[in-house]
């Protein structure tokens, strides 16, 4: 069963990144290695403008499930952008065991 809109079938291999909670996205990042995140980044980043053009046609409060999954994939791109673009490692440098938990986010 496809999780994403048909136009984004090429991103189906990455749908384990469709996670609704920020803490879960962050945990997946900390549990991934750089190769995994680079592969994800290289696939998803170039499709960002297409994805946004597709998603912007919907009312945010009324996103079909496959569109919502696509948006979640891009939330995860935000989560891994620092490791890939700046840190070159999954963890925040010099952050040790510090932990900041997301306790509220807008509904979508």
């Amino acid at each position: 069963m496809a999780k994403l809109p048909a136009d984004f079938a090429d991103l189906e291999p990455f749908t384990d990144w469709c996670l609704a909670a920020e803490d879960d996205r962050f945990a997946k990042r900390y549990g991934s290695n750089m190769d995994e995140m680079q592969t994800f980044y290289d696939a998803v980043f170039p499709r960002m403008q297409d994805a946004l053009a597709y998603l912007d046609k919907f009312d945010l409060d009324d996103l079909p499930e496959d569109a919502y999954n696509l948006l979640l994939l891009y939330y995860s791109l935000c989560t891994i952008s620092f490791p890939v673009e700046a840190w070159r490692q999954p963890r925040v440098p010099d952050a040790g065991a510090a932990h900041i938990s997301n306790v509220l986010a807008p509904a979508v």
């Binding site: 920020e22 962050f26 980043f45 960002m48 403008q49 946004l52 998603l55 912007d56 919907f58 945010l60 996103l63 948006l71 891009y74 939330y75 791109l77 935000c78 989560t79 952008s81 620092f82 673009e85 700046a86 840190w87 925040v92 440098p93 010099d94 952050a95 040790g96 065991a97 510090a98 932990h99 900041i100 938990s101 997301n102 306790v103 509220l104 986010a105 807008p106 979508v108």
Partner: protein, 427 residues
């Protein structure tokens, strides 16, 4: 090398004659006796922000707030009169009245009344006791005498504050003073897309305010946030604020930040370029905002963000691109506190807006984690007492002011409270 003008006295610190330029002691952040004083002299006496009116949209909406420093739990509720606060204590035998599953965790919801889980006494939304189980077993019990104990509660610009000082007479607006007055009119209430974060931090509450009240550390601790070339430039440049303002116990720092959009797109990371967003938030304002006078006091064109410290533990950061952030630091011990951050944006109109906010929030978290971790290291080294005097530079003026203000509240308490003894941080 000075990039921005300083006051005629030659420095921001000397512009405020109550501030010294001597090395500072951090005994006030490690002494358990001093923390006991702070709990009573500060958290028992001042106006504390506990949230915003949008959290209580209709009659019956409530939330609870655990304030360990005051050894209190409070219910904040909207009733027909407006918003009121009560001690979260049942008048029968002291059970905690409102909680879910875990009595120590905060909760929120909507209620028609509050019913004690222990023996089912009931209270209406105004705190009046309306039902006593087996009332005839009591001895001439007059329910009217058993209303919930109220806590002073006032609202400024939609921010809800409480004050545990039953005998206090200073109103919230008077307490907040001119800095807050100069913020009135900012469209706080329109920024209802909220991201909240929480963290348990192994450091004194003032140390985290220190970290957010100076940007001297930013080009160093957070150097790898920017691109390599940009980070080299920033570190060489160092940090100078546009302006500092101190008014009574409160203060603010006004900072530049030309990243939204950056002069040269190569200054920022690819995803920021692609999405037009970053640390300073989405580059395009959600709507036109007329700045109230306290914002960007230097009226500088490079203005980026203003950080206000409302004593004791509440910060508001207003960002040039049109959103705001709050921090709270709730002490739980001399060397621990609960840190809360909340980012407030105008509601996203579409997925692009929403993703821009998401990246700003994600960026905040990367920074916050670096700041948080540094604190635990600082706390443990201060506790070693290997060194006891520390020099603070002119860009650290707000830290000096914060610690001095906190000590002054404690000293005043010792002076006016029979039996209170000065802590090692006061002698």
């Amino acid at each position: 090398m000075a990039h921005f003008p300083k006051p005629a006295e030659g420095s921001w610190t000397q512009h405020y004659p109550d501030l010294s330029t001597a090395d500072a002691s951090y005994e006030d952040s490690i002494s358990p006796e001093h923390y006991e004083l702070e709990r009573k002299a500060i958290f028992g006496k001042t106006w504390l922000n506990v949230g915003r009116v949008e959290q209580l949209p209709k009659v019956g909406s409530y939330f609870t707030k655990e304030i360990d420093a005051a050894r209190s739990s409070v219910i904040i509720v909207r009733n027909a009169e407006g918003i009121q606060a009560f001690h979260n204590v049942c008048r029968h035998r002291g059970n905690k009245l409102v909680w879910q599953d875990f009595p120590r965790e905060e909760t929120s919801g909507t209620a028609r009344q509050f019913i004690c889980k222990y023996h089912a006494w009931r209270y209406d939304l105004g705190g009046a006791c309306t039902f006593v189980q087996q009332e005839s077993e009591f001895f001439d019990l007059d329910k009217a005498k058993y209303s919930l104990a109220d806590v002073r509660c006032e609202i400024w610009q939609g921010f809800i504050f409480i004050n545990f000082d039953k005998d206090g007479t200073q109103s919230l607006v008077e307490y907040l003073g001119p800095l807050a007055a100069g913020l009135e009119g900012y469209p706080w209430g329109e920024m209802t897309a909220v991201y909240k974060y929480k963290s348990d931090i192994g450091a004194n509450w003032k140390l985290f305010i220190d970290a957010f009240a100076e940007f001297y550390h930013a080009p160093v601790l957070h150097s790898r946030q920017a691109t390599a070339e940009e980070s080299r430039k920033l570190q060489q440049y160092g940090f100078e604020a546009l302006s500092y303002q101190i008014e009574g116990p409160h203060s603010m720092v006004s900072s530049w930040g030309g990243m939204s959009p950056p002069k040269d797109p190569r200054m920022v990371k690819p995803i920021e370029r692609e999405l037009r967003t970053g640390l300073f938030g989405p580059w395009d304002k959600p709507f036109d905002i007329e700045l109230p006078p306290a914002l960007n006091p230097a009226r500088h064109k490079a203005w980026g963000v203003d950080s206000f410290v409302f004593f004791p533990n509440f910060m508001i950061l207003v960002w040039e691109p049109g959103w705001y952030l709050t921090y709270h630091y709730w002490p739980t011990a001399v060397n621990r506190h609960t840190f809360e951050a909340a980012l407030y944006f105008a509601p996203a109109k579409n997925a692009t807006d929403r993703l821009r906010q998401e990246l700003a929030a994600a960026t905040f978290k990367e920074y916050g984690l670096q700041d948080a971790n540094t604190l635990e290291a600082t706390q443990s080294m201060l506790e070693s007492r290997a060194v006891s005097e520390f020099p603070l530079n002119d860009q650290e003026i707000l830290l000096r002011h914060l610690h001095q203000t906190a000590r002054a509240f404690c000293a005043e308490y010792v002076k006016t409270t029979p039996g209170a003894k000065p802590s090692p941080a006061l002698v």
